[in-house]
Structure formats: C-alpha cells, structure tokens
Amino acid sequence: MESETQVTGKEQAAAEEEKPMNIMVAIDESDDSFSSLRWALDTIIKRPSQILTVVHVMEPMPRYAFPGGQVVESASKAQQDNAAKLLSRASEQCKEKSVNAKTLILEGDPKDTICSAVEEMNVNLLIVGSRGLGQIKRAFLGSVSDYCVHHAKCAVLVVRQPKRTT
C-alpha cells in the first residue's frame, strides 16, 4: 500500500501562491501617482496570481443650486475624458511591464469611494502614492492616502520614494 506523500512547506507555499490576490492601485492626475504605479509594477507585481486594477475616482464639481432647484452633482464630460486619458496612460504603463491590468473609473469623494471599492471588490492590497495633488515639499501624507491607511479594510502600501539629492 502506498503511503500518502507529505505536503512539504514548499509545496504548501506553492499551493498558496496560486490563490488570486486582488491588488488595487489608486491614481489621480499627479506625477506622484504615476511614479507610484511604476514602482508597484517594478517591485510588487511579480506573480501571475496577482490581479491588478488601476482605479481613478472622479470628484464631481458641485453645480450651482438654483433657489428651489436641485444641486446636480455629476462629473462633467471634461472630467470623464480626463479620467479616461489617465487610465489609458496607466494602462500603457502596465503593458510596458507586461502586466495585464484592469482599469476602473469611479465617481464620488475619493477617500470614501476607494475604501468602499476595496470592500466591494475584495481587494487584498491597496497601493497609494503619498502626495497626490498637494505639492508641499516636505515628506507628508496626503489626505486621501492618510484616510485609506486608517480606514481601508485591507493591507495598504503607501509608496514614497527617497528623493535623489542633486
């Protein structure tokens, strides 16, 4: 009678490697976002079991509220075009690194929207830049990234790269 082969630690690790991992990278118009995406593609995205989604959240500009009327808040056509361009640029970056990424455009307050998306889409790892649109030079954490670090229900990776001193 054949004895059952023991599952070694390495085989176990290999079996677990096959488990899909949902990774979400949030981007905005800033250069910081795109360099964070580049860093993630170089350093984090290494296994075929990792499923990458690049997300951009459009924050609709509030329209005027007419007396007695409703405030219509939805993203303008210009914003939608801009979002599509951003994600197309992100997509190109992913393709350059031979990574197959999905893209997603969402609408709303970025910090809440990203955290909700993490929950709804069962994201295992959220990757954000550190600065976003604020151009303050000192090392600090932008408000959306800070919110996500505190509130997202998954692991959060804040990408910050050491500045090269010239």
């Binding site: 630690g9 390495k10 290494k46 295992n124 954490l141 670090v149 959060v156 910050r160 050491p162």
Partner: protein
Amino acid sequence: MGRKILVAVDQSEESVHALSWCLKSLIDCRDTLVLLFAKAPLAVYSATDSTGLPVSSSIIATMEGYANEMAAGVMKKATTLCKKLNDEVVVETIVEHGDPRDVICEVAERLKVDFLVMGSHGYGLIQRAFLGSVSNHCAHNAKCPVLIVKMPKNN
C-alpha cells in the same frame, strides 16, 4: 534580483499577522527579510523606589535581562515563522535600542530597503484607534514605501 524588505516586529499578534501575511502573499525566495525589533529604553530614572530606598543596580540588571529575553523571544518566534512559511528566503535580524518610531524609520533609511512592513497596531491595541502611533508615524515619516497590514476584525 531579490528585494530587501524590513519588517518591524514586536510582541503583538498584529505584528505576527503582518509578517505571515507578507510571507504568504508577497515574498518570493529571492528576497531578503530583515526583522527589526526596537527596544524602547527602560524608563527607570529615579534613584529611589517608592519606599525611599535606592534602586539597586541588580534591579536594573534584572529589568534589562528581562527586556533582552523578551527581544530574543520575539525574534525567535518571528524567525521560526519565516522558516515555516518560506524556508528559502534569507532572514536577518536586528535588535536596536530606542523609540520604535525613530528606530524603524532610521533603520529603513540606513539599509536602503525596498519597503517597510508593519502591523497596524503594536503594544497598545486601543479598540477605537484605527492605527497605532508607531504605524501612523512611520506611514507619515519613513522615506521608503510603507506597507501596513491589518488584522481582519472578527465582528
């Protein structure tokens, strides 16, 4: 082309969870894991204890001994976990003295690690705090990418 990853460890369950999550989800066998335990300096500054008698050096030595034992214990548990989950990855250990907030950021910069991993809470697991003070500090101030791993809440 392996990565060098710094993992901050302490006695908390969160830190063990962060290390094992990292090993299972991110690390591959070409990486080097550096486990860092920051030993906060002993807060024994008064020359006398509550009875008015001088604090003897043997008490201080005992406390130091206890702190060292704890550091060794945490490291042993962490390295055993690494071996169990991925026996090919290279593991280095560092024990440093000082405030964890500063020690972690400083070591990450000194070693030029690819990124830093920590749990979301350490010693003080205050239920209402979303993020412990050390993790919060490092997320803001480390000069390298920081990965904060959270333990799923059992609600």
